[in-house]
Amino acid sequence: MLVSIYRYNPETDLKPAMVDIEVDVPTDRDLMVLDVLNLAKEKDTTIAYRRSCREGVCGSDGMNINGTNGLACITPLSSVVKPGKKLVLRPLPGLPVVRDLVVDMSIFYKQFEKVKPYLMNNEPAPNIERLQSPEDRAKLDGLYECILCACCTTSCPSFWWNPDKFIGPAGLLQAYRFLADSRDTAASERLAGLEDPFSVFRCRGIMNCVAVCPKGLNPTRAIGHIRSMLIEQSA
């Protein structure tokens, strides 16, 4: 099958180009997109991309597959390409390209850092660990599973337009993960850092994040919860 791959080396190329590579794909089983990419790399060893766990846990191989962001390692070829059609692979949109499918995620991590993604508790630490009821623990389901692959944030137009100001769905999902944690005592401090017109409120609820999340999470819902908390705190 034909695989079209975005090639760009900022040190030597004037501009990016899509390069087609013919890859022999076995027809008796369904491959993952990453497998096809590995086959393409056997033909051209200069193709650069990130990958590690190859099972959707590390979040390294987030890329744009036939127009939709996803993890190449857990995206079956049959789900993105019809038989006889081309597989088109581009880097995640909206981030600077380091080389080929490898993007510079600095600004993504910077936004993640802004939400203080760690437990803050000003009460003295107990002798054993801080306990949490099963009900309170259940509130973190659908939030803690994020692997920071950046598929959601880089599919969000609000992040494309204001990557330095809008925290983005991944960061906001984590912001709510700590706002919802019964062991965290810094909710009002966290909310004070989010009430400006950009950090949270650039979200227009178009739900691209929900559509692409490889882990099936729902950042839009988390953002809605943050908005409700902001209203409750200020009203």
């Binding site: 609000s158 204001n162 990557p163 004070a192 017109p197």
Partner: protein, 122 residues
Amino acid sequence: MVTSATNFSRTGLSDWLVQRVSAIVLLAYSLFIFGVFVLYPELSFEQWSGIFSNNAVRLFSMMSVLALCGHAWIGMWTIATDYLTSLQLGSAATFVRLIFQLGCALLITVYLLWGIQIFWGS
């Protein structure tokens, strides 16, 4: 915390609330105007000016003009800060955006004053 001097309100929360409340006012007013056209299929000028000589209608109209002005300002400010940024326009972005927002502010002021003149003028 990201701050912006060209946004008149202090928080994104108040912008968000104003946007929704003003939208409800504008929806109610649109339904009211639509209702007038349904109730009076052959509306004459006398009936039309009769409806608008009622103080409640004038007040409602004025509220809608204010809602429109607030809604338009926040909406245009949001559009400007999305599309007229240094990512798209480079170093000229702030200048272009301020000119654009100045234009919006002028237009909104004209609409507001014009609205006052129409509904409360002699």
